[in-house]
């Protein structure tokens, strides 16, 4: 059985008067600071975190799941690379995508692969989707006081029934099983589109009965492409290329589509 992580070393670099590690450097000065110091003159504090942008999406159909992400890696207004994958395959039928900080994402993916390999050795079979979902949640929570800056979506199909499921997470492991979820810098742009077109919500222009059509894999793929195209237009951190992973009972298929590079 996997041993829990030892978290004695996972403490943020804090001194007694420091603000919360996730707050921006120019925050409200600590009450004990000298009152004559102007808050605007306070030097920016080093942060262990960096937002490398990008958007990730996962949605689940009756017998498929799609996990998609753009490949742009940004640092504020610069683009260090246009080719950085946010997606990793955990098992035959489970795929994970993470938005947020590139370094933490890499660390998380590497750690999960190790845990999955250990599970596979001990159990002589792959971890199931619900088990992987819970394990990811526990892994994130074990870093409750120095979070892994990764906003995850997990998608796959249930090994027994072949039904598609996705899970959405926050940085400290709160998770929920859903049919469609997205995360990252383009979340606010993509989520409403998918809510309406995939889940049939707020579709007042269409009669009730027709609002939530059950989309096929091809229709869902087209929808995700269009959603990313929209996000690319309005979100500067999303673009370059789209990696689309389709998971079905037959296996996992990866396709790449170009997105606007500006």
């Amino acid at each position: 059985m996997d041993r829990p992580l030892s978290h004695s070393s996972f403490l943020p670099p804090l001194f007694s008067s420091a603000p919360h590690p996730l707050s921006p450097p120019h925050s409200v000065p600590h009450p004990s600071a000298a009152p004559s110091v102007n808050a605007a003159e306070r030097p920016a504090r080093w942060s262990p975190y960096q937002d490398n942008g990008g958007t990730v999406v996962a949605l689940a159909g009756r017998d498929y799941a799609i996990v998609a992400a753009d490949t742009r890696f940004s640092v504020s207004f610069s683009i260090p690379t246009r080719e950085f994958t946010k997606i990793t395959q955990l098992t035959d039928r489970v795929v994970l995508a993470s938005a947020g900080m590139g370094a933490d994402r890499q660390y998380l993916h590497k750690m999960l692969h190790t845990r999955l390999a250990m599970y596979r050795h001990q159990h002589q079979r792959d971890m199931s989707l619900p088990a992987a979902a819970q394990m990811l949640s526990n892994t994130l929570y074990s870093r409750r006081f120095f979070p892994i800056y990764a906003f995850n979506v997990l998608g796959g199909i249930d090994s027994a029934t072949g039904e598609g499921f996705v899970y959405g997470y926050d940085a400290i492991g709160s998770h929920e099983q859903l049919k469609v979820v997205c995360s990252g810098s383009g979340q606010a742009i993509v989520q409403p589109v998918l809510d309406q077109q995939f889940s049939g919500r707020q579709r007042y222009s269409v009669p009730d009965a027709e609002r939530a059509p059950s989309l096929t894999l091809e229709q869902a793929t087209a929808l995700v492409r269009d959603a990313f195209a929209s996000a690319t237009e309005r979100d500067i951190h999303t673009g370059d290329a789209l990696e689309m992973w389709q998971i079905t009972a037959a296996g996992v298929r990866q396709t790449r589509y170009e997105l606007r590079k500006d």
Binding site: M1, D2, Q122, H123, P130, A131, A133, M135
Partner: protein, 236 residues
Amino acid sequence: MADTASSFSLTVFSSSGKLNQLEYALKAVNAGATSLGIRAKNGCVIATEKRLPSALADDATIRKVESVTEGIGMVYAGMGPDYRLLVQKARKVAQTYYQTFREPMPLAQLVRELATVMQEFTQSGGVRPFGCSLLLVGYDAEEEPQLAQVDPSGSFFFWKASAIGKNMVNAKTFLEKRYQDDVELEDAVHMAVLTLKEGFEGKITERNIEIGIVGPDRRFVALRPAAIRDYLGEVE
């Protein structure tokens, strides 16, 4: 020196390559009341003699057959207090597993963990090995019923049928003659009762034996005395 003595293991090799503490632990096991387990094609049964210290003892409060999870049960032969601790450890291990994977722990994984614990007590400072062997039953990940035995040394074996404790040799011979690969669970329960009866001193009643069953519904149940009485009636 007294202060460093406890940092050395009490279980050390003899010159002939044996661990005497383990030999003695097995003696403790063999002095204990007989327990046995049988794997059927549609489930497993474990049974044990509940040897009471005296007629004044309240048999209802003595529990040898214990559930570890909804689907896994265990029984022992040997030292009762050591067993109690192992039951607690097994339950905690299973819950920790569930907390991580949100799935019931497969029997094989639980057996490994428990066996690892028992092995640690043969190689750690200031502790002695556990004085009991365990029999565990449950369904594994491939949906097959399984029976496993764990010894004080930490070695574990999966069996079709096995017995531990005082009368184990006769019981195993008895089982070897009667066991069939495709035995039904009901027949296995009868076989278990008959095997216990063979080596029983005195009259066998529903108050001085315990039976635990895991069936196709994957739920482990320690039978109530009334159910045991029914089975005893059936083998008369």
